[in-house]
């Protein structure tokens, strides 16, 4: 890949972003001392999302999905995954972007949330305790928060790399524990519990079902006969545009997730743009300075880390519970943590808006686009079967590029592209797409000068 077109693309994107910079609350943003125009970050994100939707519509179209239901279904699945990564990146940004706490256990904390929730809320006759879902989710959130604080406690007094080691090990311990034979199914006080081991575990039916069906636990085909007051008009509307009930359900779930993601963003912007966020930044920059100015840095670090872990767990639960949700330990391999880091670095660690952009761009262009492109190659050129010998490969008439997109090659190729993008970013824009900017950590605009002093200067 030649860097020039990519550079040009990035420059173009950057100029575009620069033109419409500024945070929602009319925050002034400076970059290299120049004051940028005030505009909404929301516009940037909206523009980006719109552009990506157009791209994916085109890709799906040429991939052979040409009816409304198929197109929507494909967009929905990309959107949902993007929202998940946005939320994970936002939570990690609190820990790493703000406080400089290197959490290599993102996958583990998500797993803690998901499996705690499952244990608490699965039916009592199954592998759970049969508690209501909100209790289960609260339990998952609290378990990850507490474990986060606990894992951080010994490591947080030491140098940053110890925390990284501890969390990475923690994450793997959790995953292996879930897979282990004793945890697969065990009985405590007559109650059978379990994680389902290496196989997948069906999660409690997601709350959207409750919203749409009167009898959510019945199969979808029967349940749809008895929709709720909310479900009824939605299903009718869906039918009008040719959407089946399962797609309606998934779209509703995605929209709800969008609101949760907005809530995340709102929460983390508030945390960041406050004296609390200011101390976190100071800890990231130089902890000794922060403590020499009287800040109890351990308290700040533990709170930031625990809250981040809780949010990661919450995201994990909402992700795995998506329509017809089931989960498996394989979801929580360390590569998940790595992906979230890539998303955060891509967007710009330390910036909340950057985390959002990073999550979206990462999922759309790096995780999902390759398989869309593969699909196009498949449908337009037919699947070229890989050559058997080197001679065939070099003399064959099949488009050579085709092999790269054939069969399983695409997932391997994805990692190659991921690597190239990371190397490129580290070399040319280590601060990420949004990292060069300043999101001042205060509830007020710090550049606004009090009148009395303005007169003097």
């Amino acid at each position: 890949m030649t860097p020039a077109p990519l550079e040009r693309l990035l420059t173009a994107l950057r100029t575009r972003l620069d033109a419409v910079r500024g945070l929602v609350g009319n925050r002034r943003v400076t970059d290299g001392g120049t004051v940028r125009s005030r505009a909404s970050d929301l516009q940037v994100v909206a523009g980006l999302v719109l552009g990506l939707y157009v791209l994916f519509l085109v890709l799906s179209w040429f991939g052979g999905f040409q009816d409304a239901e198929a197109l929507t279904s494909r967009l929905q699945s990309v959107t949902l995954l993007a929202l998940v990564y946005v939320m994970l990146a936002l939570a990690l940004n609190l820990q790493w972007g703000y406080a400089g706490l290197l959490n290599l256990g993102v996958a583990g904390f998500a797993a803690v949330g998901v499996y705690t929730m499952a244990l608490l809320s699965l039916p009592a006759e199954g592998l759970g305790l049969g508690l209501p879902l909100p209790v289960g989710m609260l339990g998952g959130f609290l378990a990850a928060t507490l474990l986060g604080a606990l894992a951080a406690l010994p490591a947080i007094r030491l140098r940053a790399d110890y925390l990284a080691i501890v969390t990475l090990a923690f994450s793997e311990i959790i995953r292996l524990l879930i897979r282990s034979r004793p945890a697969t199914e065990f009985t405590i006080a007559g109650q059978t519990l379990g994680t389902g081991g290496t196989s997948s575990l069906d999660l409690p039916s997601n709350p959207v079902k409750r919203l749409l069906y009167q009898n959510p636990d019945q199969g979808a085909f029967i349940a749809v006969e008895n929709p709720t007051v909310i479900g009824d008009p939605l299903f009718t509307a869906g039918e009008a545009v040719g959407f089946g009930p399962s797609l309606v359900e998934r779209v509703v779930y995605t929209v709800i997730l969008l609101f949760v993601a907005l809530l995340f963003y709102w929460l983390l912007v508030r945390v960041g743009n406050s004296p609390f966020g200011r101390v976190l930044k100071a800890i990231r920059e130089d902890e000794l300075v922060a403590s020499s100015l009287g800040k109890d840095t351990r308290r700040f670090k533990i709170i930031a880390f625990a809250v981040g872990c809780g949010l990661i767990a919450l995201t994990g639960m909402l992700w795995q519970m998506r329509a017809g949700g089931s989960t498996a330990p394989a979801t929580f391999e360390p590569e998940l943590t790595f992906f979230v880091f890539v998303a955060l670095i891509l967007g710009g660690s330390g910036s909340n808006t950057g985390s959002v952009v990073g999550g979206i761009v990462f999922v759309a262009l790096l995780l999902e686009a390759p398989s869309f492109i593969q699909r196009i190659v498949d449908t337009q050129f037919g699947v070229p079967s890989p050559p058997d010998t080197l001679f065939d490969a070099l003399t064959g008439v099949d488009p050579f590029l085709g092999y790269m997109f054939a069969d399983d090659n695409i997932s391997a190729l994805r990692f190659v592209v991921l690597g190239i993008v990371l190397v490129y970013l580290m070399q040319n824009r280590p601060e990420g797409l949004f990292g060069g900017r300043t999101e001042e950590a205060s509830t007020v605009d710090l550049s606004e000068r009090p009148d009395s002093t303005e007169a003097e200067s």
Binding site: P275, K281, G294
Partner: protein, 547 residues
Amino acid sequence: MSNDRHTAEVSEPTADSADGTVDRRSDETGEQAIGVDTDSGRPATDGPDTAETILAVEGLEKSFGGITAVDGVSFDVERGTITGLIGPNGAGKSTTFNLVTGVNAPDAGVVRFDGTDITGWQPDEIARRGLVRSFQIARELEGMTVIENVMLAPPDQVGERFWSAVLPGLRGQVTQQEKQLRERAWETLEFFELDHLADEQAGSLSGGQRKLLEMARVLMTDPEMILLDEPMAGVNPTLEEKLLDRLHELQERGYTFLFVEHDMDVVMNHCDPVVVLHQGQVLAEGDPATVRNDERVLEAYLGGRGPMSRSQGESLLTVRGLDAGYGSLQVLSDIDLDVGTGEYVTIVGPNGAGKSTVMRTVFGLADYMDGEIQFDDETIHGLRPDQIITRGLNYVPQSDNVFAGLTVRENLEMGAYILDELPEKRLESIYDRFPILRERAGQPAGSLSGGQQQMLAMGRALMLDPELLLLDEPSAGLAPDLVEETLDRVDRINDAGTAILMVEQNATEALRRCDRGYVLVDGRNRYEDAGDTLLEDQQVREQFLGG
């Protein structure tokens, strides 16, 4: 932590009560403990009326590895004074600062602030109690804007509580406080003439501006007492005047200052009283005039005396018009220097003159800016240290100069790392020169005493049989008898034909032994002559204690 033990055993202001706790060199206490001057040293002109002790340091001790950095330091600071803490390099000033502010925990001794025993407290607890410090090398939070840096400092901010920062009902109160703080922050920035940089990243400030930012930040914490570690280093003279005026202004408002400074003029004109540290102990204490005329202080800065001389061969190292520094900070300007084959050359000069930087630049460790460095008729500036050692030049850093976790033998082997095969003969000859190293060959280097570590560092540098050895303060942190021994060892290395370029705090001793000496002041050559001639020069002597 271990406060109980310390309070029980230390009550006298002198160091004697702490006997036996650490490996202190008892032979020097007899002569130096008398140095504690009990003169209250109350400011004659602008001090407060009551002499109330705000900070009391008693019998403070700290050693790192085999090196005793602070060895029973006791002094009091009275409320409302600007107390100066001075001493030659390695006297223990910065360590004392770190012990008082909780960055390091003392091995023994008590620190009392405003009536409270704060020994062993965490830095943040001490800061909240009202004792706040600045750092010798400004530690701005570079990824934050200047005004964010300043806004960070005020204590007890409502918005530092997580829920207040987040919950809608409570955030109003945070915003209100933020507005008040913002006003104060702008005023403070204006005073320090940083207001035009408020929105800049702190990392883009110049060295002097960083110092100012650091002071601004410290002031925003509403301290009772401020510890300043070399606040004037890198600040231009106009600004320095202004800062000093501000210090006096703040002093009149009731603030107390303790500051470490190497600019003798600043100390003598603005501090009262002055505490002089030497080799980890208080050498003298009193008003500037008393301290200045104290013969022991002069000696501490210059060392002992006695003549000797050697001759010079052909030119080996030639430095012409050298400018160098660190990053954008220029430390050296227009340095000229020569070392002949087999010659023994010493660089002396007051603290902060740039002596070590000369060494580091020659060895490729500091940032070369302009000029010329030639070794053996080959230009070596711009080369990396690993390239430079292959040319027959080696360097022994000032302290922390052995691999503590490796054994003595492994350390020596590291010295010959670039060779494919270990030069066994060379190793043997180094063992012969320093027999103690053979004895301890299998021990970790970290377990050696300070003097032995220095020996090991020299031995390691000699593994490649260099033509020129750069020695950065080989006697730093060593007891007087060991200083003698170490410098004798340097003589012997030189006698064996290796040229020496040495920076040494013990100026008199170094000048007495060397062939030629250079006096460096403020990063420039000031004098160059035979060692003895420099030694007798009254002007040279004055350079060390301010003119």
